[in-house]
């Protein structure tokens, strides 16, 4: 397990450089190792704080955060749409930032604070964003909805924190809360039913009431 500890530290160090590059470097290497050597998969124990509750899990180190949530913690709100970070259905909030949980190994998130759709709110006690999605019919089939809502909540935080987007024209002022900004920032969460205008209306309503 000593070797693993070192590995984990390396990954966590890399993590600060950005989630996408970590996944691109780490995933193939880790997944390929057992096949190449014929060794059985290695396991690791990690701690996650999921929706406010401490969880201790012993996982095959190749397990994605999405699989850890779905298969080990039975939190099936985040969906496996494409399993390679292109559809957004698996979006969760990790330490305050939205991530594609299918692109992150669970061991890379040891100690992290994870919020899934289930942790945002439940029927009877909905988060403002969930309530707005109901009010504006921000879904049809519902399969991308968990990811859309988690992404939307984090998007508003990003705008509040002044994080610019691809369509932000002036980097010297806080990004404006425009439809164009919201649509660009939400473009990583695809909805095949095409409920986008309702989704943007729901987010706009919450953004308006929050400022």
């Amino acid at each position: 397990m000593d070797a693993f500890k070192e590995f984990r530290l390396t990954r966590r160090g890399l993590l600060r450089a950005g989630a996408v590059s970590v996944a691109a470097v780490a995933a193939p290497e880790v997944a390929a190792a057992p096949t190449a050597t014929g060794r059985p998969p290695s396991h690791a124990s990690i701690k996650l704080r999921v929706n406010g509750k401490e969880q201790e899990l012993t996982l095959d180190t190749r397990t994605t955060l999405l699989d850890a949530l779905r298969e080990h913690l039975r939190l099936t709100g985040p969906k496996k749409g494409c399993d390679h970070g292109q559809c957004g259905a698996c979006t969760v909030i990790a330490d305050g930032r939205r991530i594609n949980s299918c692109l992150t190994l669970a061991v890379m998130r040891d100690g992290a604070d994870i919020t899934t759709i289930e942790g945002l709110g439940q029927p009877g006690h909905l988060h403002a964003m969930q309530a707005a999605f109901v009010k504006h019919d921000g879904y049809q089939c519902g399969y991308c909805t968990s990811g859309q809502i988690c992404s939307a909540v984090a998007t508003l935080d990003e705008i509040r924190q002044g994080v610019p987007s691809h369509v932000t024209t002036d980097l010297n002022i806080p990004p404006p809360l425009t439809a164009a900004e919201l649509r660009e920032r939400m473009s990583g969460n695809i909805c095949r039913c095409g409920a986008y205008s309702n989704i943007v209306e729901a987010i706009t309503e919450v953004a308006g009431s929050a400022t």
């Binding site: 059985p40 991308c144 939400m186």
Partner: protein, 780 residues
């Protein structure tokens, strides 16, 4: 929009839930991540996970299949090969030409060869890649033109003829020839194909399937495991999108899982990884067409001959009915007096194409819309002028090429209103001025109409059943043969039943489609879900209401007609008012049956499949879209600027749901014709098999200025509450996007010059079309 929002129709004014913007029945579950899809179901202990092994060649004989490494991988439990299929190794619904596992003949790259069952999914997927396979390659037919040239068909060609097109072409004042190329489309339902097979006692099999067609899954599984229909139960509470992709394809997934479940004696789950899903399952047919059209100097078509050919892939699947519907939609909104349409159903060594929202209709419409556009550009007229000159008439020029009269024509009504509300003429002038002054960014504008036939072409599918239980606490359980894929069917049927019994929707629970509750169902397809299942559920509810009326009338000595259901109360003459629950309790003690089935068959329709004549459609749904785009002539990039839609949903059952269908359908159509490109390499391997390379529209692609209006116009026919089907028709509104791009490209043409633009109009295609107009050598 929640249940308490604004009224929209006469019914709502009377307090009925019908016509109200009732929120989706699963809204509270969707937003909280609590709606269960098949992939979310808790599995029994010991459930195995399966994966397909796919062929890597497009056309080949397998000479060696060595599975020793597959079976040796720790965690692998078993494999299923053709020899392991207890019954029929087929999932073809019409012809028996779709093997679940192909034997030695490989007919497309991506074809399932065998399936592995393992203790976990990752092991199954790894094991599936470990087979040592030797192929002897055969010549492959990979495109439609080659298939047409070699008469390679999955089904015989069809010819629809009316009038004397040859003579009329010879006599035509003007004549034009052209080619049309229309790409296919992957469904990209966010929830991929998935099934769980759970062996039951005494040979029974329970299947959880993400399917639009539980009955077909039931039959395919039964045939595959050599059982009868009554031994197989298929359930589907909801799908994460279907779009036609879950009409015939789920049979493959469920049958493979069931075969492994029989072999191992354990429950088996098979969930296709996204890449496998896109490689192994069918898509929208791509089409080509060659046309020869004769017309008057004012643009009016006098004669038309069209050769259409579609890529069906290696097997028939639903290609027969898809191409029949394409034939029946080449007219779209236009009267074609002398017409011949030949339809070739081409066999290619690619995945077998299948149903996709519109089911051939969109491709048929794309053909005629391009022809009309070409005529307009030849004559130097606004395409809208030529479109309107060719519209079906009212009381004259109103018979379709297949002999059905268009007796509910509202094309002019819709077009007039939309031209007005979108300020079409004013914007046409402004765009011409913009294009004259801007050499790089060009704008384009188009209005295209939709007339879409509603009903399954095959008459016998136009039936539905429902099952309604009233429990003695006054609550109601509703079941019907339709499936929920996000289109809001369960919500609409719930509204219909709440209306009939005059009880709150909260008193009714909708339940999963289940072949053991309602048998012999048709696919939830052809936009017919609400029309058929709404009527069947209405029938069941009316039967129960009549029994309750009779019971109450007998009890209080009034006529049954004096018993009035009103918002959870039941008024019995002037004498007595009970709650619905009190009446039901009394009826239970009086031994009145409180469960009923309902049934519906669509009236008036008939279809002669041999001569392609009849009235295949109960009615037509109409709509039109005005779209404005901008294109960058240096990069070929396109941008949607403004969308104005007026769509006919009859007297809408639920305007919020219908608007969602219209927006979503439009955008899906726009994606089909712009960014969604299926690309095969020279070896016949599909290389766009994941969202990383296959691009569906995102939130960023929506036009900033969008207006969507419903035409509040009751259906002429006695459909459910005079509503109209709305699932497929709006997809074809997306054709306006392609025509707006074509219009922008046309601003680079000299007068009368024709445009060569295929669909999808990707940036590459747009750039090439402009290059060709400008005579640039690279684009030739």
């Amino acid at each position: 929009m929640n249940g308490a929002s604004q009224p929209s129709s006469q019914l709502q004014a009377e307090g009925s839930p019908v016509g109200r913007e009732q929120r989706h029945e699963s809204a509270h579950l969707h937003v909280a991540g609590r709606a269960q899809y098949v992939d979310d179901m808790a599995l029994p202990a010991g459930t195995l996970h399966a994966a397909f092994a796919l062929s890597s060649k497009a056309h080949a004989q397998i000479t060696t299949l060595d599975l020793s490494a597959v079976l040796a991988l720790p965690g692998v439990v078993d494999v299923a090969l053709p020899a392991d299929v207890p019954g029929e190794n087929n999932y073809g619904g019409i012809l028996q030409d779709d093997p679940i596992f192909t034997d030695t003949l490989v007919q497309y790259a991506g074809q399932p060869l065998f399936a592995v069952a393992a203790r976990d999914e990752l092991t199954a997927r790894r094991a599936a890649t470990l087979a040592k396979i030797a192929y002897e390659e055969l010549p492959a037919v990979l495109d439609i033109r080659s298939a047409v040239a070699s008469d390679n068909h999955v089904l015989p060609s069809q010819r629809l003829l009316r009038g004397t097109p040859n003579a009329a072409l010879d006599a035509a004042p003007r004549r034009l020839y052209g080619h049309v190329a229309i790409g296919g489309q992957d469904h990209f339902y966010l929830e991929g194909q998935v099934a769980v097979a759970l062996p039951q006692e005494d040979g029974g099999m329970l299947i959880w399937s993400s399917t639009q067609h539980p009955t077909e899954v039931q039959h395919i599984v039964a045939h595959a495991i050599a059982r009868h229909a009554h031994e197989v139960t298929v359930q589907c509470r909801r799908m994460g999108g279907g779009f036609g992709g879950k009409e015939s394809q789920p049979g493959l997934i469920a049958a493979a899982a069931a075969i492994l479940a029989v072999k191992t004696g354990k429950p088996v789950k098979l969930r296709l990884d996204r890449d496998v899903d896109m490689l192994a399952t069918g898509k929208r047919h791509d089409f080509i067409a060659d046309y020869d059209v004769g017309f008057e100097a004012d643009g009016r078509i006098t004669a038309l001959k069209v050769m259409m050919a579609s890529r069906c892939g290696y097997s028939a699947d639903l290609s027969g009915p898809v191409n029949d519907r394409a034939l029946c939609h080449v007219d779209n909104a236009y009267f074609l007096e002398n017409v011949e349409i030949v339809s070739h159903r081409c066999k290619t060594n690619t995945v077998s194409n299948t149903a996709f929202r519109g089911f051939g209709g969109p491709q048929g419409m794309m053909v005629i819309e391009q022809i009309v556009d070409d005529i307009a550009r030849t004559l130097g007229l606004d395409p809208l002028v030529v479109r309107r000159r060719n519209f079906y008439g009212i009381g004259e020029r109103d018979e379709t090429p297949y002999g059905q009269r268009v007796d509910d024509n509202i094309l002019d009504l819709i077009t007039d209103r939309l031209v007005d509300s979108s300020r079409y003429d004013e914007r046409r002038t402004a765009i011409a001025a913009w294009n004259a002054g801007n050499p790089v960014i060009k704008r384009g504008l188009a209005l295209t109409p939709v007339k879409f036939g509603i009903s399954f072409n095959a008459t016998h599918f136009n039936q539905a059943g429902a099952l309604l239980h009233v429990y003695n606490d006054g609550t109601v359980l509703l079941n019907h043969g339709g499936t929920e894929m996000g289109q809001g069917l369960y919500t609409k049927v719930l509204q219909v039943v709440a209306h009939e019994l005059s009880i709150p929707t909260s008193a009714i629970r909708v339940s999963a489609a289940d072949t053991s509750k309602v048998p012999n169902t048709s696919a939830t397809a052809a936009s017919s879900g609400s029309d058929l299942n709404g009527k069947a559920a209405q029938h069941a509810a009316r039967r129960i209401r009549r029994r309750l009326e009779k019971h109450a009338a007998g009890l209080y000595g009034v006529a049954p007609s004096d018993v009035r259901f009103d918002n959870g109360q039941v008024h019995i003459g002037e004498l007595k008012t009970l709650t619905f629950q009190q009446l039901v309790q009394g009826a239970y003690f009086a031994r009145v049956p409180l469960s009923a089935t309902g049934f519906y068959r669509t009236p008036k329709i008939h279809w002669d499949r041999v001569n392609l004549r009849g009235r295949p459609f109960y009615y037509f749904a109409y709509g039109a879209a005005v779209v404005e785009v901008a294109i960058d002539t240096l990069t070929g990039e396109t941008r949607l600027l403004q969308v104005d839609i007026l769509h006919d949903a009859g007297r809408s059952l639920n305007p919020a749901i219908d608007r969602g269908q219209i927006e979503g359908g439009f955008l899906q159509g726009a994606g089909w014709l712009t960014s969604e490109e299926l690309w095969w390499n020279a070896r016949g391997e599909l290389k766009t098999h994941a969202p990383s390379t296959y691009k569906i529209p995102t939130a960023y692609d929506w036009a900033e200025r969008t207006t969507i209006d419903l035409l509040e116009h009751p259906n002429r026919e006695a459909s459910i509450h005079r509503s109209k089907a709305v699932g497929e028709p709006p997809l074809m509104l997306g054709i306006a996007v392609w025509h707006a791009i074509r219009d922008a490209v046309a601003s680079c043409a000299t007068p009368g010059q024709l445009i060569t633009l295929p669909a999808p109009a990707t940036p590459e295609a747009v750039l090439r079309a402009i290059g060709k107009l400008r005579g640039e050598a690279w684009a030739a």
